[in-house]
Amino acid sequence: MAESTQMEVETAAQTVTLPAKPTFKPLKAHEMSDGKVQFRKISVPPNRYSPLKKAWLDIYTPIYDQMKVDIRMNLKARKVELKTRADTPDISNLQKAADFVHAFMLGFDIPDAISLLRMDELYVESFEIKDVKTLKGEHLSRAIGRLSGKGGKTKFAIENSTKTRIVIADTRIHILGAFSNIKVARSSLCSLIMGSPAGKVYSKLRSVSARLNE
């Protein structure tokens, strides 16, 4: 008992003002990796080769100028390579740029893919039709047709109401958007795959999107 009281007295006496907590600036990409350069390599599928060539400047400009990340196309390996520079402000810039390029490779348009550079909270989700339901032959074709709708109107309806972008590549489906929006879009797409008519999906979308947009 006596010892404890002594201890308390000692600690009380020792309350000296500690030095201020040091604040450091965030590390740059280079400093973080101790001067090493970081790479990202994104392979280009053959069907995206010519669109890449057409939209190369639209890709290059924002990455190089705003993200401050080096970008180049490796023609031989058919890859787009990204590299950090000395003045890359944030390490996440490289990843964002990589995501942006990857989204383009999946099939998204440049203005849609640019949103990945600008916003943090956007993601890309991919799944296959066979994950939802095993369909073969004509059923599969019909399912794909159901998903897109006439002239793509069902797909656009989903995109507009949920603020996402959808790419239907044969049996693969990619969705770009915020997490909750992706969920809504995915559920409506799944219901379409399962066989519900478009009108039903619209009605559901209407209610859900109204709630989402509040």
């Binding site: 203005p111 849609d112 640019i114 949103s115 956007l122 656009f156 603020k163």
Partner: protein, 539 residues
């Protein structure tokens, strides 16, 4: 007489030996019967001093006549016998006296008595044999009973006679009850015994030797508590299931002493009030103790299941429990009348308690529901998010949405429509709407406008004169001008022209010299000419 006696005795014995049914059949036994009856008559004669006959005249007489003779003799005998019996009942000592003093006589008397008894019995059987006599016998018995009853009247003067007194009746009844219920009074032991014996003697029922034994037992019962064990040992079947008297005796013996005490009370009137109260209290106490010992009624047993109580017993009991619901109102005529009055008054007042829709909470204005757009969105995803962000952050800078533009267009169209509709009523109530927009107004003559436009438009020219021409002074036409005025105008014109030409004379001069020398010379000459002329005018 002795011969008659012997033959009579024999005849009597003979009669006694014969079976009773034989009496009913006439003929053979009649002679014997006559002799027997004559013998008996002679025997009885000394006891009855008043008897009119010395001998019973039997020969050639009818049964009726014989009977009349017997009756005549025996009637006073019977009454005297009864009196004697009563006397003995009240004073038992006299019997002993009688017995001790004249044993023989008593024996004889007993025999005589017995014989008399038998005589009576024979007479009774004879009468029964002759069916005509039966009714008389019964009537006699009834008369006797009635006489007894009459003798026992006490208080009731209307009923009472010298023969019938109620007090005596009561005493008789009590005696009977005492006999029946086996009293244990030590005081009245002997009396009871004798009473019973006398009662036995009094009764004219067909009683055999068994009765004597029973009476002895009976007397023994009444005798004492000490002998109870013996009594129980001596108990016979007849005691339990025999004559009607004996049944009740045994049953009552099984009851508790309280009942006996009660019956004692019933039998004995002389208890004091305190004793009576005590007895009542005791009986109550006994009752309560008994109730406590017995198993309780099911309603008092605490938790009871349906199996433990009798069937449908809960229906008979008033169960008290709390009802959560209000009991249904009993609809009487008054209730309905009151309701109807209320309804009528409400209708007159027009004060119906209609359910009013609850006012909805003040919510934010419903966000405009975006119409489902089927076409490919023109904006990229980034722009979509950008617009959303801007709208949230700076509502003012937000670019108008498609719906906003539509709204504007719609509002404009509607205003126009309203204007047209209001003009139909000559703008009587509505001021002209102020549409601030640039519109070209043509200076069309009014008539043309009137034809096309509604009546409300004014008949003046569309444009005001000021709008047409804004000028000062007296405006004259060319034909109206005087010479001086013409000159003045020309001069003004020239001055103006000169002022303008003075601004760019250099340009004109340069152009002339370089390009065309001839024209240049001509122009110079002309110029000098003109100058001269000007100076001349000036002078």
């Amino acid at each position: 007489m002795s011969i008659a006696k012997a033959s009579g005795f024999e005849a009597l014995e003979k009669l006694m030996s014969t079976e009773p049914p034989v009496f009913l059949a006439p003929s053979s036994i009649s002679e014997v019967a006559r002799t027997a009856s004559r013998y008996l008559f002679e025997k009885l004669k000394p006891f009855n001093p008043k008897s009119p006959f010395d001998q019973l005249l039997v020969d050639g007489f009818d049964a009726e006549q014989i009977w009349q003779q017997i009756d005549l003799q025996c009637q006073p005998l019977l009454s005297s016998l009864r009196q004697d019996v009563k006397r003995f009942a009240q004073n038992p000592k006299e019997i002993r006296k009688l017995g001790n003093l004249a044993l023989k006589v008593s024996h004889e008397d007993d025999d005589v008595d017995e014989m008399d008894m038998d005589d009576d019995e024979l007479e009774a059987t004879e009468s029964e044999g002759d069916e005509e006599e039966e009714g008389d016998e019964e009537e006699e018995e009834e008369d006797d009973v009635e006489e007894d009853e009459e003798e026992k009247s006490g208080d009731h003067e209307g009923i009472e006679d010298k023969f019938f007194k109620i007090k005596e009746l009561e005493e008789f009844l009590e005696e009977g009850e005492a006999e029946e219920y086996g009293l244990d009074y030590k005081n009245k032991k002997g009396v009871a015994k004798r009473k019973k014996q006398n009662l036995r003697d009094d009764d004219d029922d067909e009683e055999d030797e068994d009765e004597e034994e029973d009476d002895d037992e009976f007397g023994a019962f009444a005798g004492g508590d000490d002998e109870e064990a013996d009594k129980l040992g001596k108990a016979r079947y007849d005691d339990f299931f025999g004559g009607k008297k004996k049944e009740t005796k045994m049953k009552l013996k099984d009851l508790s002493e309280d009942d006996e005490a009660e019956l004692e009370n019933q039998g004995d009137v002389k208890l004091s009030t305190h004793e009576k109260d005590r007895i009542k209290l005791q009986s109550k106490i006994e009752q309560m103790e008994k109730a406590n010992l017995d198993p309780k009624h099911w309603t008092m047993q605490g938790e009871i299941t349906a199996a433990k109580r009798p069937k449908n017993s809960a229906l008979e009991v008033d169960l008290d429990f709390e009802h959560n619901t209000r009991p249904a109102p009993v609809i009487t005529e008054e209730v309905t009348a009151s309701l109807e009055d209320l309804i009528k008054s409400r209708i007159i007042e027009a004060r119906f308690d209609d359910v009013q829709r609850a006012p909805s909470m003040p919510t934010k204005a419903k966000r405009e529901a975006k119409e489902m757009d089927d076409s490919k969105s023109k904006k990229g995803l980034a722009e979509v998010y950008e617009d959303e962000y801007v709208r949230q952050a700076n509502p003012a800078f937000a670019p108008t949405t498609f719906s906003d533009e539509l709204k504007k267009e719609a509002s404009i169209l509607f205003k126009r429509l309203c204007l047209k509709l209001d003009s139909l009523s000559h703008f009587h109530f509505t001021p002209k709407p102020v549409i601030e927009e640039m519109s070209i107004q043509t200076n069309v003559p009014a008539i043309a406008m009137e034809e096309v436009a509604p009546v409300a438009v004014s008949d003046a020219a569309m444009l005001a004169p000021e709008e047409i021409f804004s000028g000062k002074g007296d405006i004259k036409d060319e034909s109206e001008l005087t010479q001086e005025e013409r000159k003045r105008r020309r001069a003004k014109k020239k001055r103006k022209f000169k002022a303008e030409s003075a601004k760019d004379p250099v340009k004109k001069a340069r152009d002339d010299t370089t390009e065309n020398p001839k024209t240049g010379i001509f122009l110079c000459s002309y110029m000098t000419f003109r100058l001269l002329r000007v100076f001349e005018i000036r002078k």
